[in-house]
């Protein structure tokens, strides 16, 4: 079970607004996060990772406290280690596909499995600059999965994929999520994109 209660002041076009979210996510659930641009969806994910600290908040993941502003607890991102798929992918330009995954994990069998899952097994020695947008996005997803995270945060993870690849990948990802027991939060703009996949929704306005 993941329990989140945060308050963070945001600078927006109209001035200032407060991002206030209080929500529990059952273990193993998949939740879609949606809302208008600039409402704080990415900020919410980055607060969970530890890259952004809210003025007030508490984040409990299973039995451990990641953040408690009242008790001055703020575990760094390196210790939280959720999987995170960045909106801009954040791939390492100096590393090949294989090196990306080897940087994340030493489990060779898992790397092979991920490469097959993302259909990138024939491109292992390619660097991001030589990959298409869809291939880069899949690599970003695989890298996030490489550490077998208990909590997976995905920021617009399927935006560059064609419909066929998207459907196929989502089906296979659902199996992997169950296998590693991940609780998943997915930011998505597309209302139909995750139909039938998610267990719940969170609207951020």
């Amino acid at each position: 079970m993941i329990s989140i209660a945060i308050e963070k002041k945001l600078k927006v076009y109209q001035g200032r607004q407060v991002l206030k979210i209080e929500r529990q996510f059952p273990a193993g659930s998949i939740t879609k996060i949606y809302g208008p641009s600039g409402s704080g969806k990415t900020t919410f994910l980055k607060i969970i990772t530890g890259f952004i600290t809210p003025e007030k908040g508490k984040i409990l993941v299973d039995d451990s406290t990641w953040l408690d502003t009242d008790l001055n607890i703020n575990i760094p991102p390196q210790k939280r280690m959720p999987g995170f798929v960045f909106q801009d992918y954040a791939l390492f330009p100096n590393m090949t596909i294989r090196e990306h995954l080897e940087y994340a994990t030493t489990d060779k069998d898992w790397i092979v499995r991920l490469l097959l899952l993302g259909k990138l097994d024939t491109l292992i020695d390619h660097k991001p600059i030589h990959l298409s947008g869809g291939q880069q996005q899949r690599l970003a997803i695989l890298r996030a999965l490489a550490i077998k995270p208990k909590l997976l945060l995905m920021d617009e993870p399927f935006s560059a994929l064609d419909p066929e690849m998207k459907t196929e990948l989502i089906e296979e990802l659902t199996i992997v999520f169950k296998e590693i027991g991940a609780t998943v939060l997915i930011v998505s703009h597309n209302p139909q994109e995750l139909e039938g996949l998610v267990d719940g929704e969170l609207l951020i306005v």
Partner: protein, 223 residues
């Protein structure tokens, strides 16, 4: 023709560049992360040699490391180290004088990398050092090469600061730029021309090599 000033200059430039690379990388990384009043002061001090007359810097280094008083006397008494009129003094002066040429390009390159690159590494459980070594440094290689060449070439051409702290002792502190000046003073133009031509050629070859190795991606020193 005495070529010792050329060898001494190359030795000084190589040692200075190596020391500055070791020190400059972490300093540039630290400066590239966020801002504070303390960082602004440190950055201003590092940048000062770019605008300060070399003779002024040399004069203060001469005062600071004079074995007659203060820091210089303490170094002499405690460690038997003398920085004035010695090769180690030239290294110290060059280290300070060329620091902005090493730190500047590396800091700019680090600042231009998307912050999400570091974040993507941290989220995989990597430490700051692992991230610096495996993600940041490999992605700013052209800028590091540019910084190395600029530092080396700048050290080759130092004159005022090394003359002030090192003087003109043959084989010890008489570097090529001082040898050029000395030759002209003695009306020995062929010698001055030889020293100048060697310095010119080395510098030109280095700058060309940067453009070749970086496949024309390196920033021009004039940018």
């Amino acid at each position: 023709m005495d070529l010792s000033p050329i060898w001494l200059t190359l030795k000084l430039a190589a040692i200075t560049t190596l020391l500055l690379l070791i020190a400059g990388l972490p300093v540039a990384w630290w400066l590239s992360r966020g801002r504070s009043f303390f960082k602004t002061i440190i950055e201003a001090i590092i940048t000062m040699p770019l605008v300060l007359p070399p003779s002024v810097l040399g004069f203060y280094l001469l005062l600071a490391f004079s074995p007659r008083h203060g820091l210089g006397k303490w170094l002499q008494d405690a460690f038997d180290v003398q920085f004035v009129f010695s090769f180690q003094g030239l290294v110290l002066a060059s280290f300070i004088y060329s620091m902005p040429f090493m730190v500047g390009p590396i800091k700019s390159a680090l600042q231009q990398l998307p912050v999400s690159l570091s974040q993507a590494s941290y989220i995989l459980g990597k430490t700051k050092w692992q991230t610096f070594k495996s993600v940041l440094v490999p992605n700013i290689k052209p800028s590091i090469l540019t910084a190395i060449v600029l530092t080396f070439a700048h050290t080759l051409g130092e004159f005022g600061v090394v003359l002030m702290i090192g003087g003109n002792i043959p084989g010890v502190t008489r570097v090529a730029s001082i040898a050029v000046y000395d030759s002209v003073e003695r009306m020995d133009y062929p010698a001055a021309n030889t020293y100048s031509l060697i310095l010119f050629s080395i510098t030109f070859l280095m700058v060309i090599s940067v453009f070749v190795f970086n496949k024309y991606q390196a920033k021009s020193p004039l940018e």
